[in-house]
């Protein structure tokens, strides 16, 4: 297991008022993403617990792209990962953000 935390500053807060949302399931090649609107509107934190060690740089790149694209200001995002591929991670993050924007 490996724990990773990434902190970003966003240009804007994520729209919507939903306080929390969860998507995905922890399974082999899959992950769950818990999103909570608890941070300052220009802050985003992504905390990852992953079953697969040694992919920190990939996580960093995926999270950075996601933050640049979705501008998830205000969100603390917590991930339990069962060894998902980067594309699955990116997809779940976007799915989570869509739930929070609703």
């Amino acid at each position: 297991m490996e724990s990773l935390t990434f902190r970003h500053t966003t240009q804007k807060p994520l729209p919507g008022t939903k306080r929390e949302a969860i998507t995905g399931v922890v399974a082999s090649g899959n992950l769950e993403v818990l999103l909570e609107r608890v941070l300052a509107p220009d802050a985003c934190e992504v905390a990852v617990e992953t079953a697969i060690n040694g992919y920190g740089d990939v996580w960093e790149a995926v999270v950075a792209d996601f933050v640049a694209r979705a501008q998830p200001g205000g969100l603390r995002i917590s991930i339990n990962d069962g060894g998902a591929r980067p594309d699955t991670v990116a997809l779940r993050l976007l799915q989570g953000v869509r739930l929070m924007e609703a």
Partner: protein, 548 residues
């Protein structure tokens, strides 16, 4: 005076020797080894039929049991190295040389035996290449083939998996070779004659039905959102874009997802009748919903698929069937159809390098080629135009005399950026090159050469290599769809954005597709049971695919 009938005399002698173990043409299963020891000669070229769906397994067991002091140094010339016995003969010394096409299930063992020098390898071929050589310099002396049934005169019914049989018999029988067929049963009258009896010298009633594996069944339950996203991009960005009507699909989950999206996503895009109407394809169960929704005009098959027989019988407007109603497949003809009459091949691969060369070998496995390189190559002998072919040709060729322009076949690689176990699909250097070095192969086993590939589709986007004007653009186009693999992260971001602006790279959003829309609810069938429902109960899946 020249003797012009030595080969024929030799064949007559073989038949005479074999007849000691036969009643007429019929030989009992327990006499197979005796028969083979009687008719074979050391050094013979032997074709032991090993197809995808039809294995001469009883004859293979008989051959493996031959006494190597009597039968040795055979030169095996067969398309598939599939059964353990296909390699056992090299361990005992019964066989020495090998020319073949495909060795999927035995890929690891064959690699070991190549390293160990137990096999003298001629070459690994594509199907059409090997078939062609049957008629030039690899003509079998003896062919050991398989069928469903035969009568006592040797008239043979291959069943729906005709596959290689006509080609093998054509080359062997008409050039003074001997043909031995194993059948599941001897009958008074065969349902249809796939091979006339005068081309078959002996018929063995096998001890059990020949082995068949459902190689082309992809369970929709295992399809992922990523595969669905890639399939959506392929449909919108390639099938619709080029109006692809005549095509061949690979056997991976990505193309199976496309098959299942035609009646749903394709229908929504108004593409019915515009794309994917004529196919060179095994009867994939995942094609059933598209057939039932009226998308598919016709399908010619290399071989059949387990469980599809009844369905095919009830859909003769779509499939090629015999007077008895069952499928007539033919690998040589279908490969030819895929090569010359299809405007697109689309399939998956394990590795793609920075030029676009692709390979399915890993360092420890020699899987061979099968037919993909035939499908996945641009045939320079093609002379008939089609809109798809011409459009691709125009994209590739921007200068020169338009009337001398030739079209291009679309050769599309459909891959996820990471494979199983987070192994990157995109690599600096193909494992195939390492393997060639280790085994002393003159040619690295490249499945599809870079100059044949026109598009690479991943979950990150479509790279249109036809539009790349130099090697650097090509490399950046490939990096630009390689996702978070080291190759993908090594991209020049500015160049990739420039390629995107020119439409060389197209992202899902450029195609009006949201990754969030890639949902399993889009699949026309989400389980094998759904496929059974679509088929009106005619599809009979094998037990291992059932959950009811």
């Amino acid at each position: 005076m020249n003797e012009w009938r030595q080969e024929r005399a030799a064949r007559d002698a073989r038949i005479a020797a074999g007849s000691a173990f036969a009643t007429g043409k019929v030989v009992a299963a327990e006499s197979v080894t005796d028969l083979l020891e009687a008719v074979l000669r050391p050094g013979d070229r032997v074709c032991l039929e090993g197809d995808n769906q039809k294995q001469a397994d009883c004859l293979a067991r008989g051959l493996a049991a031959c006494d190597p002091s009597r039968i040795h140094d055979l030169h095996m010339v067969q398309s598939g190295i599939v059964l353990p016995e296909h390699l056992d003969v090299f361990e005992t010394g019964v066989a020495k040389r090998l020319d073949y096409s495909y060795s999927g299930p035995q890929g690891a063992r064959i690699a070991k035996m190549l390293y160990g020098g137990q096999i003298a390898l001629g070459a690994v071929h594509t199907y059409l290449e090997l078939f062609a050589r049957y008629f030039v310099d690899l003509t079998p002396h003896v062919a050991l083939i398989a069928g469903v049934s035969a009568d006592r005169d040797g008239n043979l019914y291959t069943g729906p998996n005709t596959e290689d049989t006509p080609t093998v018999v054509e080359a062997t029988h008409f050039k003074n070779g001997l043909v031995i067929a194993q059948v599941n049963e001897i009958v008074e009258r065969v349902p249809r004659v796939d091979i006339p009896g005068d081309r078959i010298d002996f018929v063995v009633e096998a001890d059990r039905p020949f082995y068949v594996e459902p190689l082309f069944t992809r369970d929709p339950a295992a399809m992922t959102e990523t595969q669905i996203l890639i399939a959506m991009m392929a449909i919108k960005g390639i099938y619709a874009e080029y109006g692809v009507k005549r095509l061949n699909h690979g056997i991976g989950f990505g193309t199976a997802a496309i098959e299942l999206l035609l009646p749903t996503y394709g229908e929504r895009l108004g593409l019915k009748g515009q794309i994917a109407t004529h196919w060179a394809l095994n009867p994939h169960p995942t094609l059933i919903p598209a057939i039932e929704s009226g998308w598919v005009k016709q399908v010619h098959c290399f071989g059949s698929e387990v469980g599809m027989d009844r369905y095919i019988r009830e859909r003769p407007d779509v499939f090629f069937t015999g007077s008895d109603g069952s499928l007539r497949s033919n690998r040589a003809f279908c490969q030819t159809a895929g090569l010359y009459a299809c405007d697109m091949f689309i399939g998956a691969t394990l590795q793609i390098d920075l030029m676009g060369h692709s390979s399915t070998v890993t360092q420890s496995r020699v899987a061979g080629f099968g037919g993909a390189p035939n499908m996945g190559s641009d045939p320079h002998g093609r002379r008939h135009p089609s809109d798809t072919w011409m459009k691709a040709g125009r994209e590739a060729q921007t200068s020169g005399e338009p009337s001398l322009m030739r079209g291009r076949k679309l050769v599309v690689q459909l891959v996820e950026t990471f494979g199983d176990g987070l192994v990157p699909t995109f690599v600096e250097r193909l494992d195939a090159m390492e393997l060639a070095k280790k085994t002393g192969l003159e040619l690295a086993p490249v499945m599809i050469y870079a100059d044949d590939v026109t598009h690479i589709v991943t979950e990150e986007g479509i790279a249109n290599l036809l539009l790349c004007r130099d090697a650097d653009e090509r490399e950046q186009a490939i990096r630009g769809v390689a996702g978070y693999t080291p190759i993908g992260r090594g991209r020049d971001r500015a160049k990739v954005e420039d390629l995107r602006a020119r439409g060389v790279i197209r992202r899902p959003e450029d195609l009006g597709i949201s990754a969030l829309d890639a949902d399993r609810s889009l699949l026309a069938a989400r389980s094998i049971k759904d496929l059974v429902h679509w088929s009106g109960g005619l599809y009979e899946p094998p037990a291992k695919f059932r959950n009811w």
